[in-house]
């Protein structure tokens, strides 16, 4: 079989999107014989030019521009090149895909995504309830949209606190002044609301996994970030086997019948045997190729499940190292011209 799989997030820059890792994973499953279509939002996204991974690239309209233009673009891709499956990996585009997944399926484009109800579970206001239901803890949190609420939240939780944007950025504040300054910074950049969270002791650890929508896992790997960039992105990491955290991920899949990829961000306090749930991302993280590299190809299992093929769920070893690196690519200017003028390469 030959599958045409579209993947977004091919912006392999200093704040990398998850697309290239997912594309590499799918390419590595030779049985799928997949042609990868890169969905880009800018002609400068490096994935467009990485033709050993991305076979064909298209510029997409922004999802915020409305459903019609976005979905029409996907239909255009299907008609002109062929498109069997779309794997969206960016937060901003998930709602549109989730909302129209049935319509896409009717038109011959498969997806493998959570339902809208499941998607809402990732909201920060649900964290406490989910953590409890999957057998772990969560830090005390308050969602704030004004100075008054910020003050109240700080009084309730106590300093130091984490001041976080709804989707991006997190700062640790030791004083009220610091908290206010970070609050303003986040609001200026990302808008309301802002999340104020208790600082919990421990090490940040993460799980990448996927559920099949029926309560079964399509593979999971636990990691610890050893070295991160200024933007908080992993540069070096190591696989770990923290049972409590991995059990929580299993429970999440089982209890909520989660469909598709997800990432759990946790803080693990070994001394007191506590795992705190910090965030649920309803998509692949940018480091998801780490799991493929240690033998757990979650992205290929998702495609396999979607097309009714055999699934291979493997275990992994603790102590495998992940090292990200930068690279250079030299190509012809006409590739850039084509993508600018035609919107595809």
């Amino acid at each position: 079989m030959e599958l045409k799989v579209a993947i977004s997030g091919i912006n392999a820059v200093d704040n990398p999107g998850p697309g290239i890792g997912v594309a590499k994973s799918i390419k590595e499953d030779k049985e799928l014989n997949a042609k990868i279509i890169g969905l880009a939002y800018d002609a400068m996204e490096p994935g467009i030019y990485m033709d050993w991974i991305i076979d064909k690239a298209y510029i997409m309209p922004y999802p915020s521009g409305g459903y019609e233009a976005y979905i029409e673009r996907l239909y255009y891709i299907k008609q002109t090149y062929g498109l069997d499956f779309v794997m969206p990996v960016l937060d901003a585009e998930l709602p549109i895909y989730i909302k129209y997944q049935q319509e896409l399926e009717r038109n011959g484009i498969k997806t493998f995504l959570p339902s809208l109800e499941q998607f809402k579970l990732r909201g920060k206001d649900k964290l406490e309830e989910i953590a409890k239901n999957i057998g772990i803890d969560s830090p005390k949190s308050e969602v704030v949209s004004s100075y008054e609420e910020l003050t109240k939240a700080i009084e309730k939780i106590g300093l130091p606190i984490m001041v976080k944007g709804a989707f991006y950025k997190a700062y640790r504040a030791y004083t009220f002044q610091e908290a206010t300054s970070y609050f303003n910074k986040i609001v200026a950049e990302w808008g309301y609301p802002v999340i104020v969270q208790q600082v919990v002791k421990g090490e940040e650890m993460n799980v990448v996994a996927a559920g099949d929508g029926e309560g079964n896992s399509l593979g999971m790997v636990g990691i610890k970030k050893m070295w991160i960039t200024e933007l908080g992105k992993i540069w070096t990491g190591v696989t770990i086997k923290n049972k409590k955290m991995l059990n929580a991920a299993e429970n999440f899949i089982k209890k909520y019948k989660w469909k598709g990829a997800f990432e759990l961000e946790c803080i693990v306090d070994i001394e007191n045997d506590k795992v705190y749930l910090i965030e649920i991302n309803p998509r692949f993280p940018a480091w998801s190729y780490f799991s493929t590299g240690v033998g757990v190809n979650i992205a290929s299992n998702i495609i396999r499940k979607a097309f009714g093929l055999d699934i291979d769920i493997k275990d992994y070893e603790a102590g495998k190292l992940y090292v990200r690196y930068t690279d250079d690519l030299i190509t012809d200017m006409d590739k850039f011209q084509k993508i600018i003028i035609r919107g595809e390469n």
Binding site: T239, D273, G319
Partner: protein, 78 residues
């Protein structure tokens, strides 16, 4: 929590804890003590192996053992 039982060690003194992802390096004396602890050897047995393998007197071995145990405790490994 006793993490020592699950820690992976190699002959060069590199320790890796699969639960936390932490890694440590120890010298040959530390390695001898860790190996002893992992094999559930008693304090006396470990001290005896130190005096034999490193040609030191019992008092020095005892002191090194106690120091190292404290170090492990401070890293929450013991």
């Amino acid at each position: 929590m006793n993490r020592i039982s699950q820690i992976a060690i190699n002959d060069e003194g590199f320790l890796f804890d699969p639960l936390t992802g932490e890694s440590f390096t120890v010298n040959q004396t530390g390695l001898e003590i860790i190996k002893g602890l992992k094999e559930s050897k008693s304090e006396e047995e470990i001290i005896e192996s130190l005096t034999e393998n490193f040609e030191i007197d019992e008092e020095t071995a005892k002191r090194d053992f106690t120091d190292f145990i404290e170090k492990l405790r401070s890293y929450k490994i013991l």
